[in-house]
Subunit: 490 residues, 2 copies
């Protein structure tokens, strides 16, 4: 099935209707928004096997993974619904009047229609009804999703489920709109429309950066929250390697090859200090990679890109191939691959800093601790950085630990970066170019904050204030009143 | 006294040292940062009459105003110090481990060196030791201030006070750096330096937008928090006018002429509906403006710009001069001026949407409520919007009230926009082009959030975590633990 790209005129009509829907949707209570999100979760469940079959056909992802991903998507919707309803995200601050100062009450209000571009690698959890959509609805923003062309039919089915939920909850249809657009114009028309107030994106650096530039070049710039990939460095510290190089190798082998390496948190760079423990680690990890079977990738374009980028990386001077899957790759399959280079090569060659999206990882061998510190300090922004380290390592490599924190949003100790827990304490967002705005997360209920801004009411009488700001605190939310956190009424 | 612009090489050296200072400064406790800010406040006090005399000479501001502004600056420093030390701004979230999910703990960390460009109209409170500097120090960021050339000597004196405080508190000198630069190159070199991680600015649209564009065109874009002016619309609703047009006129006359109109919150646009009450209001306000004396403006450049922009506005078709100060203006003085135009003229002529910085206001006369709604919906982003309204007006003009909230950061009811209370509930920042980022405030302790980003620790043992994230909660701060707000230890 193919879909026609939305025209500029169609997008204008969509955005006009979304803006009208905004006037109504922002007035809904937190309970109404939470009910909508829970209803979407139920409608997703009701898509049954048809959704799974369609997604399997479009993405090559296995059934169990897709069933798990649908469950994750439902969990996101219901957990963000709970957070929405709890209302603490409204960040209410109240400074009551004094003899010479007016009463001030501030809360967060929705920014307006939000355009969402879903990810190719998560057709459900980071797509049409994914975290961006869920969190924008929680904030009170209408959502316009541009279907990912690689799984447009899956997106249609999910959009149908959302539309049914919107209708059942008695909300304006344009609270949610689904458009198609395989070409670049559709995206540009959406981002540059005057009624678009924010953008969520998960995908490549090229795609995200284009949206970011269009958004900043508007007459009225708007925020773009683009997650654009990451090589997720893993630092192997010497005391940890001494106490179990093989165990660390097994842990990383699983993370590198999981889901054919098609995660934004895949560990693409492993940094260690030369020596016999590192040699042992490389040998063990190489064996594991050679023993790992190739897997079918999401679609031919991704398989082709993996093959080309992997070959380009392996062809660089000073890059050695350590291991490749011993199993021959079939059509559209990605072969697990491990390579190695010196820190000097990493310093000289910018290509070694780039993501190879798939089951590929590059080991950087440093001469000493100083070189390892230099590697992290020259690295671009990342979603995650991981340390495999004993307590002694953490103390001895304090500078490295500090600098690893500088370049990432999530600092993993003795674990792997893959596996992104959905929770309030998650930070899924890191310094540019991992994302365009490291101050916000795209996973966890704090993601709601991307779609809201503060509005302060000065000198309003209680009976005219929104419920969240009233003296009596009818919503029973946490508020900062005269600099003290409280749930008490005034 | 004149100062030489810092060269590109000097700026590079400054930023290198600031980056080194960042490694040390970010490790300071909240108490140490608060102590520094309180010490700066004390050192400001110790600048005594010399600071006041210098600022009077450079800015033409009267002594009482400057003494008041210094006191405000000290109050900002000490109140942000209190907020810094209380630590709630760290936004700690903890999700403890479950059977299949890792322990996650997130807090805010400083972004790195911050470049601050002070305002011409507040040589103390929005300049060298102003809110941007105070909040960035609270976050743990070294600050580099580029002195405003219109009050560079005042800036030198304040910088000396800050440097003494930094020394007394035993911190690296490069926690604070003061540079001069009357030309555009200095600013550009500062904003585009790789070690600069964020920018604060208060000034013109042209200046702020240039910084914003440079920052976004960097290889690694950085956030710019620029406050760029506002015309602060005031909506006169009919029931309120009926019950006291003269009282409303007196209130606005004071706000328009206060400080020779040289506030970013000066009410530059007044919107009413045609009728005899509006006629009475215009007459009363006109009389008050005619009776108001001209005042000396900050410097010749500002007086010249006021004179030119005011004349250009008055020369527009369909703009009528209602009243001008009856007192003849002296050198560099700004004459209080009131003009009037129809809503139709406002729709046709973009120049009527532009700020005339000084004691000038334009009344927009609408034919009916529909036209008034259209006026607000066509208006650019503003720091504030004000409603002069009875309860009945608020209910009858619900759409207008909603749309007024859409375009501003602070919605004032039955008051004037001038007078910006320093407190946590203040929102001083509005939709573009009022500021470049409406999600943040430049007044109040929430301004600290501009200079921080979340960092999540995954799977770290308690003894290696920062104090804010430890089980025992030794800082006694509010934290969200497993989705519940608490100050209890885990």
């Amino acid at each position: 099935m193919t879909f026609r790209d939305a025209s500029a005129a169609e997008i204008d009509a969509v955005m006009q209707r979304a803006w009208q829907a905004f006037y109504i949707f922002r007035e809904t209570t937190l309970k109404q928004r939470a009910d909508l999100m829970r209803r979407i979760a139920a409608e997703l469940e009701a898509t049954g096997d048809e959704l799974i079959r369609t997604a399997m056909r479009e993405t090559n992802l296995p059934e169990a993974r897709l069933r798990g991903e649908r469950a994750r998507t439902q969990f996101q919707l219901t957990s963000y619904a709970d957070a929405c309803e709890a209302g603490d995200w409204l960040e209410v601050r109240i400074d009551t009047a004094t003899a010479d100062q007016p009463d001030l009450r501030k809360w967060l209000v929705p920014v307006g229609p939000v355009v969402v571009f879903g990810a190719s690698n998560f057709p459900l959890a980071y797509s049409t009804a994914g975290g961006d959509t869920a969190s924008a609805l929680a904030a009170g923003c209408p959502v316009i999703v541009k279907a990912h062309p690689a799984h447009a039919e899956t997106s249609e089915l999910v959009a149908g489920a959302i539309a049914r939920a919107v209708r059942t909850e008695g909300l304006p249809a344009s609270v949610f709109t689904h458009v198609h657009g395989a070409g670049v114009e559709t995206g540009k028309n959406l981002v540059t429309h005057t009624h678009t107030r924010a953008v969520g994106f998960t995908g490549s650096y090229g795609g995200g950066k284009a949206l970011f530039d269009w958004a900043n070049q508007r007459k009225v710039p708007i925020p773009v929250f683009a997650e654009m990939g990451s090589i997720n460095p893993v630092f192997l510290l010497p005391d940890r390697l001494r106490s179990g190089a093989k165990e660390v190798a097994m842990l990383l082998a699983g993370s590198i090859t999981q889901g054919v390496g098609q995660f934004c948190t895949n560990p693409g760079l492993i940094i260690g200090i030369e020596g016999k423990e590192l040699d042992l680690f490389v040998e063990e990890l190489g064996t594991a990679i050679a023993n790992a079977a190739p897997g079918t990738m999401l679609h031919p374009g991704i398989a082709k890109a993996y093959s080309e980028k992997r070959e380009a990386a392996l062809a660089q001077p000073d890059v050695a191939t350590v291991a490749v899957s011993a199993t021959r790759s079939g059509t559209n399959q990605g072969a697990p691959t491990l390579a190695s280079a010196t820190a000097g090569a990493f310093f000289r060659n910018p290509l070694l800093h780039q993501e190879v999206f798939g089951p590929y990882s590059l080991i950087i061998q440093c001469k000493n601790a100083g070189e390892m510190l230099e590697v992290v300090r020259r690295m671009e922004g990342q979603l995650t950085a991981s340390l495999l380290a004993t307590d002694r390592d953490i103390h001895e490599f304090a500078e490295l630990v500090g600098s690893a924190g500088d370049i990432c949003g999530r600092l993993v100790l003795n674990g792997v970066p893959t596996g992104v827990r959905v929770g309030l304490a998650m930070q899924h967002g890191g310094p540019f170019p991992a994302t365009t705005d490291s101050r916000f997360t795209s996973v966890g209920a704090d993601g709601i904050l991307r779609w809201a801004r503060p509005l302060c009411y000065q000198n309003w009488p209680d009976h005219l204030l929104p419920a969240a700001l009233k003296n009596g605190n009818p919503l029973r939310i946490w508020r900062t009143v005269n600099n003290s956190m409280t749930r008490d009424p005034l």
